[in-house]
């Protein structure tokens, strides 16, 4: 067997979790039942993989067989939803006496979890539940705000352990619209479904300018307006923006001004500011600022990076 093919086999088999190994190999249907029976599945994974690769070599497995194995791995949901649910529930119930956990399977390998928290002496409060949406094929989960902050670490731990991950990190991204969060996190917002002719709209826009003005004025204005339109389009794209309601910036930066040079010149400490942008549809509002003349184009990267970075809470300090 070619070295590269052997390597391909080795890596593909390594990806399979031990719990799924038998299922996958049987579904692949390349190694016979008898051959599989002869393999010691209780040994360490590295050794098991070596044995299996040897078996494949003996049977003259080709790269096509390896590709098929790969497809089988993708096809079979390696993530065991039932196991996740049971594990998640157990972790919470072991830690808290009064907690009620409910599940609902949703589309795209997502599971909705509802948790009603109680205390040592009180039954779970059904009117202040926390909702979690976990997308099993991704390393992302979305939670609604938790009224009892002390339960947040436990919730994180339950999610991490039940889903076989190492740790959970809270992202600085919050919104009331789950679809928008998904769009940002899964990078789905920049898909244009309609075929788009990049030249026509710009031309249409420039024709809208007042053609009754003095021709010299039009010329300057048009160039700047078109530049602003172009830059805005490059920054924001032509698709509709994911919907966020706010962005918050905690600034600790020194005051510097070109025109007011001596103001606070001797002060070493930065200005501590907290700036919050709020809007029913923040990104669309920000997009309209430069064309309206309220902001420069290009807009500051602090604002335009929101979908790319998947953040709407920032802490900015002087470098």
């Amino acid at each position: 067997m070619d070295e590269t093919v052997a390597e391909f086999f080795k890596r593909t088999i390594l990806k399979i979790p031990m719990t799924e190994m038998m299922t996958i190999l049987k579904a692949w249907d390349f190694l016979s039942e008898k051959q599989l029976q002869n393999v010691n599945f209780r040994q360490r994974k590295e050794s098991l993989v070596q044995d299996l690769v040897l078996l494949c070599e003996k049977k003259r497995a080709s790269v096509h067989d390896a590709a098929l194995l790969d497809i089988v791995c993708e096809d079979i949901d390696l993530f065991d939803m039932e196991q996740f649910k049971s594990s998640f529930k157990k972790i919470l119930q072991r830690a808290l006496k009064n907690v009620m956990v409910s599940f609902r399977d949703a589309e795209e390998n997502a599971v909705w979890i509802r948790i009603a928290w109680g205390t040592q002496y009180r039954k779970p409060n059904q009117y202040k539940p926390v909702y979690v949406v976990y997308y099993s094929q991704t390393p992302y989960a979305f939670t609604s705000s938790c009224p009892l902050r002390s339960n947040i670490p436990l919730l994180g731990q339950a999610l991490t352990v039940a889903s076989n991950h190492h740790k959970i990190v809270k992202m600085d991204l919050r919104s009331r619209y789950l679809d928008s969060l998904k769009a940002i996190v899964f990078k789905q917002y920049n898909q244009t479904f309609e075929t788009y002719n990049s030249t026509t709209p710009l031309q249409e826009k420039s024709l809208e300018l007042d053609i009754h003005m003095d021709s010299r004025i039009i010329h300057e204005n048009r160039i700047e307006k078109e530049r602003v339109q172009r830059v805005t389009q490059e920054t924001f794209g032509d698709y509709s923006q994911p919907r966020l309601e706010f962005a918050q910036y905690k600034l600790e930066t020194k005051f510097k001004s070109d025109f007011n040079g001596d103001i606070l010149a001797e002060r070493k400490e930065p200005l501590r500011c907290l700036i919050k942008f709020s809007s029913p549809h923040l990104l669309e509002a920000l997009k309209s600022l430069a064309p309206a003349g309220i902001a420069d184009a290009p807009l500051s990267p602090l604002l335009t990076c929101i979908p790319n970075k998947g953040m709407n809470y920032f802490k900015i300090k002087d470098k």
Partner: protein
């Protein structure tokens, strides 16, 4: 030093006033047109609020209920033949009026069918100079129906009338008039309307909502930042509303109060006073710091709210005073705005 500056300021503002009274019809028309835009011919300098002598006399406990409450502002034209000796009579007249209005079915709030009691009382020490008329307070209280709770009166609505450093107005009216140009109300709109109607009918006066434009909000922010505070209760915060469509956008900008004070101190040159240039420079610094980070021109947007440890004010004419020490100072500025609106 203080009394010198105080007189100086009054002379300046009353001179401005004289100028407009003696103006020709054309000048008066120009002046009223200017009023409709956001330009306010304001004195170029104002005194930084200090703890005034008179205020030292008033009991902080007695006026504590005025703090930390949101008041809606109105300007009020002088009251004709109002007398401080008739307060009890006014209380019963107003009480009867309210009852009658409620019987008519006007402005009835569902579920509120209990007896009410009206009180008029004076607020001592709420004035700038001795010439200012006494401030007074009107309250509508509910009388509980249950005999066991007979003593309890819940305050439903409060309104108070005052005049702080109102010389410019006082000089122009005859003795039949009482000048309390600033009116502050807290409670249901419907009650404010009923009380307002009664006052208008009884004293031939006129209430007008007092909006505060961005220009004056900037002044307030600068002046209140200039006030010396022993400790800061709150950040210095501004709120701008951005006129973009189709979605609205609000920008809130809060600065640590010590940093705001440091910025102000760096801008401030004239001791004891605040000048137009200083206000402009202070705001400019805030705008440029913001622009450096976000490339947005805040000056192209509309300032709608300012908030400091001294007080907070909203462009719709809402105020909340947070600090007893500068209560008179805040009211002085508002009185000035009210007087300007009346003229």
């Amino acid at each position: 030093m203080d009394s010198y500056e105080s007189t100086h300021q009054h002379i300046a503002s009353s001179r401005l006033k004289d100028y407009f009274i003696g103006a020709t019809p054309l000048q008066k028309r120009l002046e009223s047109v200017r009023k409709q835009t956001s330009f306010v011919p304001t004195p170029p300098r104002r005194k930084i609020p200090q703890c005034s002598q008179l205020q030292e006399d008033n009991d902080p406990q007695k006026v504590a209920f005025l703090l930390h409450k949101q008041w809606t502002l109105y300007s009020l034209t002088p009251l004709y033949k109002f007398s401080y000796t008739n307060l009890k009579e006014y209380a019963s007249l107003l009480s009867a009026f309210i009852a009658a209005e409620k019987q008519k079915g006007l402005a009835v709030e569902v579920g509120e069918d209990f007896n009410i009691k009206v009180t008029f009382s004076t607020l001592l020490g709420m004035k700038g100079t001795q010439r200012d008329p006494e401030a007074f307070l009107v309250q509508i209280l509910s009388k509980s129906q249950l005999p066991s709770e007979n003593r309890e009166h819940k305050v439903l609505w409060t309104g108070w009338f005052c005049c702080i450093f109102g010389d410019s107005l006082l000089e122009t009216v005859s003795e039949d008039f009482t000048c309390v140009p600033l009116f502050l109300a807290n409670g249901a709109e419907t009650n404010t309307a009923i009380v307002g109607t009664w006052f208008q009918k009884t004293f031939d006066c006129y209430f007008s909502p007092l909006a505060i434009n961005a220009f004056n909000l900037s002044w307030m922010a600068a002046m209140w930042t200039a006030c010396k505070m022993d400790q800061y209760m709150a950040a210095t915060e501004f709120l701008w509303s951005v006129p973009c469509s189709p979605q609205s956008l609000d920008i809130s900008y809060a600065i640590h109060p010590e940093d705001a004070k440091a910025l102000w101190d760096s801008v401030h040159k004239t001791p004891g006073e605040v000048t137009q240039e200083e206000v402009d420079l202070f705001m400019d610094c805030l705008y440029s710091h913001f622009h450096r980070h976000f490339k947005i021109h805040l000056s192209a947007t509309r300032l709608v709210r300012v908030s400091t440890s001294v007080a907070s004010a909203h462009t719709d004419g809402k105020i909340k005073i947070l600090c007893h020490k500068y209560l008179i100072g805040v009211l002085a500025y508002l009185t000035e705005l009210a007087i300007f609106q009346i003229d």
